[in-house]
Symmetry: C2
Subunit: 109 residues, 2 copies
């Protein structure tokens, strides 16, 4: 890979990295359903320390996957991506297929 190509794939990888954590995927799902949520909502949903959730949210924000708006003392996050559900479908397909393969291996032995 030359420099330019590498940069392209690094940029893409950043997006995948941002999504590569169960808590962050859960957040994106919640934001697909609820339009917007405050940090407190998401903290309760995830069940970790609020500081941890806040850090997850900043990862998503840096990747450009969510937008932030502060109203009063609360901070609201919303998704900026509409095509994520397609991701999920594809991922679920892969997982289903993996499970099928596992089954096949079990039956074979």
């Amino acid at each position: 890979m030359n420099k330019k190509e590498l940069a392209k794939y690094e940029a893409r990888a950043q997006i995948f990295k941002a999504l590569a954590h169960p808590a962050r995927l859960r957040v994106m799902d919640a934001l697909a359903q609820h339009k917007e949520q405050c940090v407190c909502d998401l903290t309760e949903l995830i069940g970790s320390d609020m500081s941890t959730v806040s850090r997850h949210l900043s990862v998503l924000k840096n990747a450009g996957l969510v937008a932030v708006e502060k109203r009063g003392q609360m901070v609201f996050y919303r998704s900026t991506v509409c095509c994520l559900s397609g991701f999920t479908d594809c991922v679920e397909k892969v997982l289903a297929n993996n499970a099928k393969q596992q089954q096949a291996v079990l039956h074979a032995s």
Copy 2:
């Protein structure tokens, strides 16, 4: 998140983690174009040590994103996912949008 829900998102996150590296994304792209490639092909493409590339391939294999076939002394990898191009389109959209936002910020200041 309860245990079951957590497990679901962890499984999904595994897939994203597997894709969250420039070399592995490059490999998936190559396998989308070429149907199959040996480790030597991919090693040349990526430009790292063959052992490193082999490790990347095993990450993709464990995630169920590629399949392996050994013929003679060579090992061929092929993609098992057809819906990945949709991923890429979506990711590129996000990146384009991020770039636009960056521009907006620059103009504003």
